[in-house]
């Protein structure tokens, strides 16, 4: 099975650990880098290393950022009285593409899933509740994915937030079942946002 030298094999192996990349693609990427001009590989390596060391989570919302606060949290033009709660930073990208939302976000970094040992304690829920203390928030949009786990998380949050007399809404159905926000097209997502419903 040793078709490659050790270093080439290692490179292919590293690529194939990435999501969405199978052994064939990994091999293609590796071979490409080996024949491309040396700076292609160097630039890629630098970009990866730099991004990994400088990018961290926004202290407020949990989105990716290079400073303390992400570009959304530090944008003074955004309304601070409405917060959209999502599972992952990439869901923010999907929501932003709709251009229909001008409030702030909160990233949970996951959903409640007992079979994977993820309970409310492992998510950024405490941070969300702390954010709500004293802040003039009027509405929370629960935009977790329309899966069994996403729904459970939304129900859980609604139970915590409703007593605070903040309006709690959920994205309208119409999003394909089990689909990720990430893959929903912009029109569908805009409609889901417009048609959001209050949950008790």
């Amino acid at each position: 099975m040793n078709y490659y030298t050790k270093t080439v094999a290692r490179l292919i192996d590293q690529f194939s650990r990435l999501p969405g990349i199978g052994p064939k693609t990994a091999q293609r990427l590796a071979f490409y880098l080996l024949v491309a001009p040396p700076e292609v590989a160097a630039n890629l390596a630098n970009a990866i290393a730099e991004a990994r060391t400088t990018v961290r989570y926004c202290q407020v919302c949990g989105n990716f950022t290079e400073g303390d606060r992400c570009f959304i949290c530090s944008d003074g033009r955004r309304s601070t009285d409405i917060i959209c709660v999502v599972e992952r930073p990439r869901d923010i990208v999907a929501m932003e593409k709709t251009k229909g939302f001008r409030g702030l976000y909160h990233v949970l970094h996951g959903v409640i899933s007992p079979m994977e040992g993820v309970g409310p304690g492992q998510l950024r829920i405490k941070e969300l509740m702390r954010r709500l203390e004293g802040a003039p928030v009027k509405e929370i949009i629960l935009a977790t994915n329309p899966s069994v786990e996403g729904d459970a998380t939304a129900l859980y949050l609604a139970g915590l937030i409703n007593p605070l007399e903040i309006r709690v809404t959920r994205l309208a159905h119409g999003l394909p079942v089990g689909a990720d926000l990430e893959y929903a097209d912009q029109i569908t997502l805009s409609k889901a946002l417009e048609g959001r419903r209050v949950i008790k």
Binding site: P114, M115, G119, D151, T153, L155, Y156, G159, V177
Partner: protein, 371 residues
């Protein structure tokens, strides 16, 4: 709908074979292990794109071969459908009238199969019956599969949650979100199941009555772990489900199991008021399953205006003469039927219909007789 022509290559013990069935009744006869069931498997594969024998589809490919194909031509009420299936060890290609497709080649199962293993339906474990209900009757409702998928997922998550609570890693209050979803999907699922039973019981009664020359009254009863009998609505079930969960919460946590709901439900058959699980004879079990299969055929006809193909593997000539005749009355002239037998049986129709007999020997059709 009927199968007009079937061409197979490298399927189990067949290397190359063309079958041109009769529109109404076909018999595959031959000794054991000659390839009768394999032919039924080929027909089933053409209709559904799947095997009824194995999940591991590469098993169907002949030993020493690395691909199989099955080409078939169906005649429906409205059109001809040509289905071409190619199977490689890790790849399947289904082409319908020249177009590649995923899923059911015909857009619906198109076939009802009765194999000896189905006899376990009457006396076997509840799981068998639930699976039968979900697969065979659930498919009449587009929403059924979705609800079942969501519900089962919730059950798994909820069982894990119960365990977390038992071991003090989570608080009891977190259970609430899983209860809500369990009841939501469960109520709708249970309502659909009861709807199925409501529609089917009179039909099942009538068919069974007929198959047994009016000697047996068959009742089928849904046994709900929620002890709900005839709910008024989905909301009604939801409320009762929610209440019952509260009552048994302690027990559920102790056992880390979701103890009630559609995933634990069952149904049973009663012949003249006696539970067939306890008292049914072999023949009675066979007749009950046959009744279910006929009801499925009629239900498909009602849904889509087309009769599916009926495959009976070692269950036709095992019926007594009266039941055989009664069965034929339901299907003759309407449902293309394939049966297998190791004997030399013939059948005679009352009218001018004919049956085609294929004599199978070592993966070949050795002789054909039509009369």
């Amino acid at each position: 709908m009927y199968l007009k022509r079937l061409e197979i290559a490298n399927l189990r013990n067949y290397s190359n074979q063309i079958v041109e069935p009769n529109e109404f009744f076909n018999i595959f006869s031959g000794s054991n292990a000659q390839g009768k069931t394999n032919l039924l498997e080929a027909i089933y594969l053409s209709c559904t794109g799947k095997s009824f024998r194995t999940q591991k589809e590469s098993e169907i490919i002949s030993w020493q071969k690395n691909f199989l194909y099955v080409n078939s031509l169906f005649e429906t009420n409205t059109r001809q459908v040509e289905v071409k299936i190619r199977l490689l060890p890790h790849k399947k290609r289904i082409e319908v009238n020249g177009v590649l497709i995923k899923g059911h080649p015909l857009g619906w199962p198109g076939v009802v199969m009765f194999k000896p293993e189905h006899l376990a339906l009457v006396k076997g474990a509840p799981l068998e019956r639930r699976r039968f209900l979900d697969m065979e009757f659930g498919s009449f409702y587009p929403r059924y599969g979705y609800l079942l998928g969501q519900y089962n997922r919730v059950v798994i998550q909820r069982n894990n949650m119960l365990k977390e609570i038992k071991e003090n890693r989570e608080e009891v209050t977190t259970l609430q979100v899983w209860n809500t979803q369990l009841c939501r999907y469960g109520a709708e699922l249970l309502f659909l199941r009861m709807e199925i039973f409501r529609l089917l019981s009179p039909l099942i009664r009538e068919i069974h009555h007929d198959l047994t020359s009016a000697e047996e009254e068959l009742d089928v009863r849904y046994l709900s772990t929620l002890k709900i009998n005839m709910p008024a609505s989905v909301d009604d079930i939801y409320d009762q489900f929610t209440k019952k969960l509260q009552e048994i919460a302690k027990e559920e946590i102790k056992r880390s199991q979701t103890l009630i709901g559609p995933h634990r439900d069952d149904f049973s058959f009663y012949i003249n008021g006696k539970d067939a699980k306890t008292y049914g004879s072999q023949g009675q079990q066979r007749t009950i399953v046959l009744t279910l299969k006929i009801s499925q055929i009629l239900q498909w006809y009602k849904e889509i205006g087309e009769y599916p193909i009926l495959l009976l593997d070692d269950v036709f000539f095992e019926l007594d003469k009266n039941r055989r005749m009664a069965l034929l009355k339901w299907v003759e002239g309407l449902v293309q039927t394939f049966v297998t037998t190791t004997g030399e049986e013939r059948i005679a129709f009352n009218n001018n219909l004919t049956a085609k007999n294929f004599f199978i020997r070592s993966g070949k059709i050795a002789d054909i007789e039509e009369r």
